[in-house]
């Protein structure tokens, strides 16, 4: 395993860090988050301009054709600066599914628009009352020859409030779970109804209702019955990005807390003169760095399409949830009451971590998957 970055990758990392550090301050983030859209179009346009949205997309459709390492690097910086723009949803998941599954015509219709920042995508897969489940879905698609007719309700669709296109999973009627298929459906298609709302991480999602939505064969992403395969594959990139985001956030929390306890006085001494707090900080640092090691390994394995990539990604997710909780909870604890307010960024990392925990399977799910993948090896 090589965990060294290429020169190009280091440049990407540096430029992302520099841009976000200089131009993405917390107050503006909060303003964007509270706007009707939930993020800033202007920022999104700048991301596009810097090529970030094109990064992992295929070259033949306006992308740069980069892979896991670049996704990791960008997501980590976005995590560090609490970016609310839907890079994960639109580019990593949406772009990833379309790049891998869409017909050439569909890909050409959507992907260049994604790369240019003109199109928002959302995966509509989860349903109410169940989770950690990658594939069983109650939404149905009835094959009526020339087209399919979809019915169902999708729950907590991340970025669903602003999506121009939904990628919807549905079970072909009468064909069991093996026939779950993905469909790309424009948000303005007839029978598509969404109810948008904010989520606790300062973003927006929706409940999506499909009532007799009719789609042609060109809307199928990845062929019939390929949803599980496609979702499993794209979930690897998505989890890597989500974990990198948390790791970037943990690094920010470790730094902020370290600064805070070095300055803040209580009982006539700086907080850092209390050994218990110093050791807590040491443990926070250890959690961060251990998880970072696993992230580098998983990204490298995924970039090289190695056989153990899925196992490492599950390991990474399980570990990131544990570390993210420990670090974000203790960042609040060490800051005290002030971190329980909306005003400080500390608690917003905490909330973002909490929402990412169950994205594409939570810790328990990935501990189990890690075991299963192991017993195969």
């Amino acid at each position: 395993m090589s965990i060294e970055l290429t020169e190009e990758q280091k440049m990407l990392q540096d430029s992302a860090e520099r841009y976000l550090k200089n131009s993405y301050d917390f107050d503006q983030r909060q303003a964007a988050s509270r706007s009707a859209k939930g993020f800033s179009d202007e920022r999104w346009a700048q991301f596009a301009e810097m090529g970030w949205l094109a990064m992992p997309l295929p070259e033949e459709h306006g992308g740069f054709g980069f892979g896991a390492m670049e996704i990791m690097l960008l997501a980590e910086q976005m995590g560090r600066y609490l970016v609310v723009e839907p890079f994960l949803e639109t580019v990593v998941v949406g772009g990833g599914l379309l790049a891998r599954g869409a017909t050439t015509a569909l890909a050409e219709r959507y992907l260049p628009a994604v790369a240019e920042g003109q199109l928002q995508v959302a995966l509509a897969h989860g349903e109410e009352g169940k989770h950690a489940s990658m594939i069983n879905t109650a939404t149905t698609a009835v094959d009526e020859g020339a087209h399919c007719r979809l019915n169902g309700v999708k729950s907590v669709v991340a970025n669903g409030d602003q999506a121009d296109v939904f990628i919807v999973s549905a079970r072909l009627v009468g064909a069991g779970n093996s026939a779950v298929t993905l469909f790309a459906i424009p948000a303005d298609a007839e029978g598509v109804e969404r109810r948008g709302y904010p989520t606790y991480d300062g973003r927006r999602a929706c409940e999506l209702t499909l009532r007799n939505v009719v789609v042609g064969p060109e809307a199928v992403v990845g062929g019939r019955g390929s949803a599980e395969y496609l979702l499993d594959r794209v979930a690897l990139d998505a989890q890597l990005a989500a974990c990198a985001e948390v790791i970037g956030g943990m690094a920010a929390l470790v730094e902020a807390t370290q600064d805070y306890i070095g300055q803040r006085k209580q009982f006539g001494k700086t907080l850092s003169s209390f050994q218990v707090l110093r050791h807590r900080m040491a443990d926070m640092y250890v959690q961060l760095e251990l998880t970072r090691s696993l992230m580098l390994a998983a990204a490298s394995s995924l970039a090289g399409e190695e056989g153990d990539a899925a196992r490492l990604i599950s390991a990474l997710k399980a570990r990131t949830v544990k570390a993210g909780r420990f670090v974000s909870q203790n960042a609040i604890q060490l800051h005290g009451g002030i971190a329980m307010t909306d005003e400080l960024s500390i608690g917003h990392y905490f909330k973002r971590f909490a929402v990412l925990e169950s994205w594409f399977g939570n810790r328990d799910f990935h501990l189990q998957r890690f075991r299963e993948l192991q017993s195969v090896a």
């Binding site: 989770h131 950690a132 606790y200 409940e207 009451g337 329980m340 005003e343 328990d364």
Partner: protein, 399 residues
Amino acid sequence: MEKQEHYAEFRLRVRDFLDHHLTPDLRRAGRLMTSVFADFEATMAWHRILFQQGWVAPDWPQEYGGTGWDIQERYIFQEECKLANAPSLLPMGLQMLGPMLIRYGTAEQKEFYLPRLLSGEDVWCQGYSEPGAGSDLASLKTSAVRDGDIFRINGSKIWTSYAQHSNRIFCLVRTSKEGKPQQGISFILVDMDAPGIKVDPIVGLDGRVEQCQVFFDDVEVPVANLVGEENQGWTVAKYLLEFERGGHNFTIDLKKQLGKLHRQMAETRGINGASLETYPVLGSRLADLEIDALAVEYTELRIKGANSAGENPGALSSMVKLVGTELGQAFNELSLDVLGPAVAPCQLEALEPCYDGDIVGPRYALTAMAEYINNRASTIYGGTAEIQRDIIAKQVLGL
């Protein structure tokens, strides 16, 4: 045995009362609690109902408006109220100021303030913490300078819960800079409508306002509003802090959380389509927490035993605060693991008891994230978890 029957009967009497007086709207307000505070309007409505019944201050001596119940009866009352989802009453007046006035107040103070507190006419908030003085109360800076028959107060208090709803505030203020920091502090009662007071709401991490910052700009307060001796406020405050720590009953909270968790597990389906209550890993984690909650319950019983035997329960209170809060947080985490993505939607309006629109996702998931967020404060206020450990090490172990 006779005692047992008596308590069983008492419990039935409480239930009967709740059946008749705790309206569906009030129960809804209790269910929607995501912190130690319920919706203000509902809280005060329930306060007035209990006042009518004479049950608003069971912990007070009977001569001042208490119920005369023994410790077991009070526990039963508290438990039945919580489990029936009654909104919690505000502790600042009933639990903190009341006992303190009874102990340290002048006859005039008791006569004037206690009845208004019981009836709900006065709503009190607590002015202790200041920006820059978190756990270290002794370093507070808000000053009260004597000028004839009045004190002139300048400074600011923070983390003042429900100050936006209160008409009075009790404060620790600095009346002298001499001696140890603890020595120059006084305890004083202030009208919120006095000129020079400004209340700024603080938006919490959950997006709602429970706490405020209160500013004092040359606020004049009669000297008669001093409670206890001038410069002796620290003694009064310590009494209250211990009360804050020991007065809470964690078992009932934990039981309520446990009930929610069982419901959430039963209703949510996992990867193989079965209810999560059949999942051994989650079950084992829940059992572990549930056993710890039992240990807290029996420890609280031991403390009650020690209390009623007139013994000093020592640092068992610090221990229960420490374990009870950390355990509550662990329950919150398990809720997140159980509910998955359903915890994400932020529906502030649906958390208001008067909301009658649709909600997103299952009702049993509605409060989980706000509880996870707000409960982080439980190991910070009333003495951080670190301070509780310091207390145990020092007071029990003599280290």
